[in-house]
Amino acid sequence: MNRSTPARGFTMVELTVTLGLLAVISVGTIGAVRAGLAASADGRDAQLAFHALRAEVEANKALSVRGVLARFGGRTERSFEVAGLQPPAAGQSTGTVRLLSEQQAALLLGIPGLDLNFNGIPAESTLDASYKVLVMVVRVAWRSPTGTEAIELVASVAEDMG
C-alpha cells in the first residue's frame, strides 16, 4: 500500500473503532442524561411531598386540640392530596394524617404509662377532646418510576403551646 497518497480515506478498521467508540459514548451519555432526568423528577417529587407534609403538620399545630378534632370531623384519620404527585395506588390518597390514642402513642413512642389527657388513666384506647397533647403521624406516599416512595413525620399538637 502506498500510504503517502494524499487523497486516501479512512480504513474500515478506523471507521469501525470510531463508530464503536461513538456508540459506547452515546449509550453512556443517554443513560446518564436519563438517570439525571429521573433524579431531577425524583427530587422535585420529594420536594413537593416534603412541603405538603410540613404544611399539613403546621396546619394542625396552628389549631387547638379541639380545633384539630373538629378538622378531622370526629374521625382519627384524614387524607389530603398533594398536587403534582401520583397516588401510590388507584383510589388511595397521597397524604394521610393519623391521630393516635394514648394506647397507640404509648406503643409508638415506647412510653407504657402515657397519659395524654391527664385523667390518671394511662394508655386509653379512646381519643377525645380531653386530650392535652395529640400525637399525629403524617405521611405522604407517591408513585415514582422506581416504585412507591413515602415520607413520614411524627408531630404533636398541644394546648397552651401556641
Binding site: 494524499p6 459514548i25 451519555t29 446518564a32 442524561v33 438517570a35 439525571g36 432526568l37 433524579a39 431531577s40 425524583d42 427530587g43 422535585r44 420529594a46 420536594q47 411531598a49 416534603f50 410540613r54 403538620v57 387547638s64 379541639r66 409508638l108 413512642l109 415506647g110 412510653i111 402515657l114 395524654l116 391527664f118 377532646a129 392535652k132 397533647v133 400525637v135 403521624v137 405521611r139 406516599a141 415514582s144 422506581t146 416504585g147 412507591t148 416512595e149 413515602a150 415520607i151 413520614e152 413525620l153 411524627v154 408531630a155 404533636s156 398541644a158 394546648e159 397552651d160 403551646m161 401556641g162
Partner: protein, 398 residues
C-alpha cells in the same frame, strides 16, 4: 488535507479533551439532579428532630401543668421511630433507627419553669428551650365590671337609670361583710374614650352608686395596669368555654316565674349559652360559677339575676340589666323582695365581627358587687382546667 508533522496526534488530544468535558458535564448534571433529593432528606431529618423535641416538650409542659408534685428529677424520654425515610423501590420499608428525644423541666425565678428538650437521630439533632408558667384558669378581674372593646373600636355605649343600682369594686364576702382584698375600680375600660362615655352617661347624683378604688364614680382605664388584653382574655374564656359543664344552644329565655339554675354554691358550674340570654317577666336566673353568654345578656321587665361568680358576655358585648320593683311590693315587708345581684365580676368581651363597641345599660334595682369569695366559686367551677402560659421559645441545633 494531510496534517503537517507537528499536528499529528492533535485529533486524539481534542477527542480526549472533549470526552473529559462531556464526562465532567454529565457528572455535574447528575450531582445537581440528585442534590435536591439529598436536601429534602437532610431537611426531613431536621424537621423530624424538631417535631420530636416539640413532642417531648409538650408532654413535659402538660405534666407540669397537671401535676402538683413534679420534681426536678422528672424527665420525659421518648423514642420516635423513623418508620420510613425517602424509601424507594418498594413499599416503605421500616428502618431500625429511632430518634431519641428527652425533656427536662426545672424551676426558674418568679414562678416560671424552664423546659429543655432535645432530640437526636442518625442525621440530625435539634434542641428547644421554653419557659412556661402556670396561669389561673379564671382570669383575675380588673374591676367589678370590665368592659372590653372589639379590636380597633373605642368607647362604650353606656346608660344608667335611677339611683337604686349599685356597682362596687370593694371586696365583699357572700355574707355582705368587707373582704380582705384590695379595692378595684367599679368599672374598668381600656381606652380614654370609654372613660369619657361612662362619665357622660352618669349624672352627678348617680356618682355615689359607682364606688371602688378612687373617688366616685370609680371608673378607670385599665389598659396600662391590667395585663389581660382582650386577646388574652378571649383566650382564657375560650379555655373555660371548651371545658364547660353545660352548653345551651341557641337563645335562652327565662320568664313567667321560671327558675333557670346555672350551678350553686355547693356545685358551681361553667355554663355556656350559645345565644342571647334573656330573663324577664318574673323569671329568675340563679347560679354560681362561670356563666359565658355568646349573645346579649338582658335582664328586664321584672326579671331577676342572682348569680355568684363570673359572668362573661361575648358576642356583641351587649349587657342590659334592669330590674324594676313591682308595684305590689309596697304592701309587703322590705325583706320580701330583693332586686338582681351579681356577686363576683361582670365582663363584656365582644368577639363578634363588626361589633363597634360594648354596651352597658344598668337600671333600677341591680347590684354588681365585686366579691373574691364569689370568684372563688368561679375558680372552683374551673378547678378541672389547668393552664400554662408559654413565655419564651428558643430553638437551636445541638
Amino acid at each position: 488535507m494531510r496534517p503537517k508533522g507537528d499536528e499529528r496526534g492533535v485529533a486524539l488530544v481534542v477527542t480526549v479533551v472533549v470526552l473529559l468535558m462531556v464526562t465532567a458535564s454529565l457528572a455535574s448534571y447528575l450531582t445537581v439532579a440528585t442534590a435536591s433529593r439529598r436536601a429534602v432528606g437532610a431537611e426531613l431529618a431536621r424537621e423530624r428532630a424538631l417535631y420530636a423535641a416539640e413532642l417531648v416538650a409538650a408532654i413535659a409542659v402538660q405534666r407540669f401543668a397537671h401535676s402538683d408534685t413534679i420534681s426536678l428529677t422528672d424527665e420525659i424520654a421518648v423514642e420516635v421511630p423513623l418508620a420510613s425515610a425517602l424509601v424507594g423501590g418498594g413499599s416503605g420499608t421500616t428502618t431500625a433507627s429511632r430518634l431519641r428525644a428527652s425533656a427536662r423541666i426545672r424551676p426558674l425565678s418568679a414562678g416560671s419553669h424552664l423546659v429543655e428538650a432535645e432530640a437526636s437521630g442518625p442525621d440530625a439533632s435539634r434542641r428547644i428551650v421554653l419557659t412556661v408558667r402556670r396561669i389561673p384558669a379564671v382570669p383575675p378581674p380588673s374591676a367589678a365590671v370590665a368592659l372590653y372593646a372589639a379590636p380597633g373600636a373605642e368607647g362604650v355605649g353606656a346608660r344608667f337609670g335611677g339611683r337604686e343600682f349599685w356597682i362596687s369594686g370593694f371586696d365583699e364576702t357572700l355574707a355582705g361583710l368587707p373582704g380582705g382584698a384590695a379595692a378595684l375600680p367599679a368599672i374598668a375600660v381600656r381606652d380614654e374614650a370609654a372613660v369619657d362615655d361612662l362619665f357622660d352617661a352618669l349624672s352627678s347624683s348617680q356618682y355615689p352608686r359607682v364606688v371602688g378604688d378612687g373617688s366616685p364614680p370609680s371608673i378607670a382605664n385599665a389598659a396600662g395596669s391590667s395585663p389581660y388584653t382582650a386577646l388574652r382574655m378571649q383566650d382564657a374564656v375560650r379555655a373555660l368555654a371548651e371545658r364547660a359543664h353545660q352548653v345551651l344552644e341557641g337563645n335562652v329565655t327565662i320568664r313567667d316565674w321560671e327558675v333557670g339554675s346555672f350551678g350553686s354554691a355547693a356545685t358551681p358550674r361553667i355554663v355556656v349559652v350559645q345565644g342571647d340570654l334573656t330573663v324577664r317577666s318574673q323569671g329568675q336566673l340563679l347560679g354560681a360559677g362561670v356563666l359565658i353568654v355568646d349573645g346579649d345578656l338582658e335582664v328586664h321587665d321584672d326579671g331577676y339575676l342572682h348569680y355568684d361568680g363570673l359572668i362573661v358576655v361575648r358576642g356583641r358585648g351587649q349587657i342590659e340589666l334592669e330590674t324594676r320593683r313591682p308595684s305590689w311590693y309596697r304592701w309587703f315587708p322590705a325583706w320580701w323582695w330583693e332586686g338582681s345581684h351579681l356577686r363576683g365580676a361582670l365582663v363584656a368581651l365582644p368577639t363578634a365581627e363588626g361589633t363597634s363597641r360594648s354596651r352597658l345599660r344598668i337600671e333600677d334595682y341591680v347590684e354588681i358587687q365585686r366579691s373574691e369569695e364569689a370568684l372563688e366559686l368561679a375558680r372552683r367551677a374551673a378547678s378541672h382546667i389547668r393552664r400554662v402560659e408559654l413565655q419564651s421559645w428558643r430553638e437551636g441545633v445541638r
